[in-house]
């Protein structure tokens, strides 16, 4: 075992982690731990853009952006947080430009902007050009630019280090923290992939920027490595997770594969059609049609398929039609996604419509934080020194449905805030003692899996998990389907206790890490389903066929899920509580587009 000591430890090197590192590393001694290499992070897969009311091409302002974000999130957004994000969006884009990000340009040489789902002029009048972009590679450019700046600043990275535990001063799983006693973080425990060695990183501040958990589903746009590590570690240490039942299904995944085709395709004029060639979004969202928010478009698509207007031999997808666009326009604005269609489906988007179907894309929920990225351990108290930003966090700026482009914005705005806050905390806080034997939990789990002779196979359990989540907890949900999902997930958690791995080696044992990641997925899937069962309404990305309407009287509040000890040693259960939504400017209205 090795021990390291840093003022600030950042876990994750995607957009949020590296944006935080750029701030904290100039102010405090900082280390960034990533289970990949920084440029492999899934920020790089984001395509369409990053919204900010620059008003470079048409009239716009941050208040309209705030409103769209609140309405897009079906009023479950904390409005103070959304306002911060929309205001700081402008500087966030300019920061990136100054760092060298190659944005597309207007003829005058300013940053160009384009339309995106749910982003409108003057509170819903018409679509507005707000998304700053670099072709359909905006996330790639952000990831590369932030890494370039990290190289420039000589940020210290620990590549291929998997963080497997977060160390706190108190055991939160029993709910017995004495009134008024501060809870603080003391560091993290990490596993070095190349050697199998365990490392303890002692830190005054820890920033979680570990991304999402899309791999709980089968059809997903997410990377294999998006296994919700940060969320699950927090949950296991007794930190609540907020609004996990809200998962975004992106309308346009390549059918059968789930690979993302950006909403920018529709922002640039692409049209969704059913088997009859009908532009069906005209029926569901008469004003902004194909540029309605993602939850509405995804549900509309699924409904077309359900009502037998799907395309293809099995009538199980709809068509994204770009054939009326000029090939030169497609090449200039959408080069990557059209290449995906060619490479993976053999479809030529110039002349043929592309088969698409919703794909699990983004966790609106996550580790609850304040607008300064401080992690909450209940509705009001923060954990000293622990911060979270990006998809792992729930500020909540996305409410029950995130608008397109607001994730690249979120990582930049709240990544920056997290980096500043983490460094500031480290400059004044004193060192917290590490717990006795800080690595015991991690070492025990690893040894159990490596030495297991009984053998449930990781891939069998993971496949069964993903199957039940796709079948029972996807775009359409009912009490019956969710009850089935919960029973399945709990049965899989039992099977997981006897999971074993074939690779018994120390070096680059990815077999072992996949087993550990599966444990994270199982824990998070349970929280998603428990929350979805309890929320007997339909709001944003959570649609209950048995409760098809939004119910503000009963449910306009955040879900807070806690893992709490049952009394049986080593066993926890999920307990739900609620947290009020912060409403400032906008009273809830019916959500129509």
């Amino acid at each position: 075992m090795q021990t390291h000591q840093y003022d600030v430890v950042i876990v994750g090197a995607g957009g949020a982690g590296m944006r935080a590192a750029l701030e904290s590393s100039t102010r405090a001694r900082t280390a960034v731990l990533t289970k990949l290499y920084p440029t492999r992070s899934h920020t790089g897969a984001a395509q369409g853009g990053m919204c900010a009311a620059l008003a470079n091409v048409e009239d716009d302002n941050w208040e309209w952006h705030t409103f769209d974000t609140v309405k897009g999130g079906d009023y479950l957004v904390d409005q103070d947080a959304a306002e911060v994000m929309a205001k700081e969006a402008i500087d966030a884009v300019l920061d990136l430009e100054r760092m060298g990000l190659p944005f597309n340009r207007t003829p005058e040489g300013k940053i160009d902007q384009r339309r995106f789902g749910g982003h409108t002029r003057n509170h819903g009048e018409a679509a507005v050009r707000r998304s700053c972009y670099a072709a359909d590679r905006t996330g790639h450019m952000i990831l590369q630019t932030l890494y370039q700046q990290c190289v420039k600043q000589d940020v210290e990275f620990f590549n291929e280090f998997y963080v497997l535990d977060v160390l706190l001063t108190h055991d939160l799983s029993t709910d017995d923290v004495p009134e008024g006693e501060p809870v603080a973080v003391s560091g993290v425990v990490a596993y070095e992939l190349s050697t199998g060695e365990i490392h303890v990183f002692r830190a005054k501040s820890v920033v979680f920027a570990t991304g999402g958990a899309g791999k709980i589903f089968k059809t997903t746009s997410n990377a294999h490595t998006l296994t919700g590590d940060g969320m699950a570690l927090a949950l296991r240490r007794g930190i609540p997770l907020e609004d996990m039942e809200f998962f975004q299904f992106h309308p346009t995944g390549l059918a059968g594969l789930g690979i993302l085709l950006s909403e920018a395709a529709r922002g640039e004029g692409g049209i969704l059609r059913n088997s009859e060639g009908e532009r069906f979004m005209e029926r569901y969202a008469p004003t902004i049609k194909d540029l309605a928010p993602r939850d509405i478009v995804a549900r509309s698509m699924a409904n077309e398929v359900r009502e037998c207007r799907g395309a293809g031999p099995n009538k199980d997808y709809v068509l994204l039609d770009l054939t009326h666009l000029e090939p030169a326009h497609i090449d200039a604005k959408l080069p990557d996604i059209t290449e995906f269609a060619r490479t993976y489906l053999g479809i030529e988007p110039y002349t043929e419509p592309v088969p698409v179907y919703p794909t699990a894309h983004y966790a609106m929920g996550g580790v609850p934080t304040t607008i300064d990225a401080e992690v909450l351990r209940n509705n009001t108290d923060v954990i000293g020194g622990l911060f979270a930003a990006g998809e792992v966090a729930c500020v909540s700026v996305h409410g029950s449905n995130r608008l397109g482009t607001n994730s690249l914005l979120d990582i930049n705005v709240f990544g920056k805030r997290a980096g500043i806050a983490a460094a500031a905390y480290a400059q004044t806080a004193s060192w917290v003692e590490l717990p006795d034997e800080p690595t015991t939990a991690v070492v025990t789990e690893i040894e159990r899996m490596r030495d297991a002779t009984a053998s449930e196979r990781v891939s069998d359990i993971r496949r069964d998990l993903q199957d039940t989540m796709d079948a029972n907890a996807q775009v359409f949900r009912t009490e019956e389907s969710l009850t089935q999902a919960l029973a399945d997930v709990r049965a899989l958690k039992k099977r997981y206790l006897s999971v074993g791995v074939q690779d018994k080696g120390r070096r680059y044992n990815t077999d072992l890490l996949e087993a550990i990641e599966l444990g994270f997925l199982l824990d998070l899937a349970e929280v998603v389903v428990v929350g979805a069962l309890a929320r007997e309404e339909s709001r944003g990305g959570h649609f209950r066929e048995d409760f098809p309407n939004r119910d503000d009287a009963k449910f306009m509040k955040h879900t807070m899920a806690y893992a709490r000890a049952t009394g049986v040693p080593g066993e926890t259960e999920i307990r739900l509580d609620t947290k009020p939504v912060t409403v400032t400017r906008y009273q809830p209205m019916e959500r129509k587009y």
Binding site: L36, Y37, T39, R40, S41, H42, G44, V93, L94, E97, M99, G100, P102, F103, N104, R105, T106, P107, E108, G109, I111, R137, H140, Q144, Q148, Q149, V151, K152, S194, K218, T220, A223, H224, T225, A255, G256, L257, G258, I259, L260, G312, P313, N314, D316, Y317, F340, T343, L345, G346, P355, S459, Q466, V501, Q502, D503, G505, R507, Y508, N509, D511
Partner: protein
């Protein structure tokens, strides 16, 4: 069948999107190396798995790892050609495993899968990427500007933006660098990827560090080691005209005084 890919499901036939492509057996002949063995030595091992219409080499590798031999080790993440984790030598050519469809290969023979060349092999298909990233860092891969920060964005015309577009696509997968015979034999050569990333800034109208970068690349291990073999251009999974970019950097050295 969709099957044996990222979704690990070969239960329900649903090959609707692609027209019916029947399933087929494919043999992968994989170069293996276990550093934990008593006497570590590289060897070949063959696996035969059933694959389906849209499956890629990565899907077959996963099927082997998940169902046959969990110790088979390779890097991967996004699985659609964006993250740059899974560059491998497939039938003698550097490719991303997630972008290489099995049906596009000759499956009547075993498909050869080896680690990319020129970097130390750590385990199976995993190589030590540090020398690669060290070269990248050396060419100062970040925007260099003088004076005060502007209050708004710097202006750049669409034409100026277009000038360096091709080299912004790089995902640092190392397919180009590890396809270069000069790099194989001369471990000091910067390699194509580092030069591509220098090009991205040298031709960016906002950048003022071109002279410094050109000086670095004028080193004896710099651009002049390039023998215009075009392996790099052929290997690039992002379609970057790598050799052309290197030639443009060479030309800039001759024409720009520094």
């Amino acid at each position: 069948m969709t099957a044996l890919d990222t979704r690990e499901n070969d239960a329900a036939p649903s090959d609707s999107t692609m027209g019916a492509v029947p399933s087929f057996d494919v043999t992968l002949r994989i170069r293996r190396f276990n550093p934990d063995a008593a006497e570590p030595e590289a060897y070949w091992e063959e696996f035969t798995v059933t694959a389906h219409g849209t499956d890629r080499v990565l899907d077959a590798m996963h099927k082997i790892k998940w169902e046959v031999d969990g110790s088979l080790t390779f890097r991967r993440s996004c699985a659609h050609g964006i993250c740059g984790s899974d560059a491998m030598r497939i039938n003698g050519r550097n490719r991303l495993a997630c972008k290489t469809l099995l049906k596009d290969l000759d499956i009547s023979k075993p498909i050869l899968v080896e680690p990319i060349k020129g970097l130390p092999v750590e385990k199976d298909l995993v190589v030590d990427m540090e020398p690669f990233f060290a070269s990248y860092r050396e060419i100062m891969p970040f925007l260099i500007t003088g004076g005060n920060q502007p209050s708004a964005e710097r202006r750049q015309s669409p034409e100026q933006r277009e000038r360096y577009d091709d080299t912004t696509k790089c995902i640092l997968c190392a397919a180009c660098t590890s396809s270069c015979p000069v790099f194989w034999t001369d471990g000091q050569y910067f390699g194509p990827a580092a030069i591509v990333n220098a090009h991205r800034f040298i031709f960016d109208s906002r950048d003022e560090g071109g002279a410094q970068r050109l000086e670095i690349l004028n080193d004896k291990e710099g651009v002049w080691r390039c023998r215009t073999i075009f392996n790099c251009t052929e290997a690039c999974p992002r379609g970057i005209e790598v050799t052309k970019a290197i030639q443009e950097v060479k030309r800039a050295m001759i024409t720009r005084a520094f």
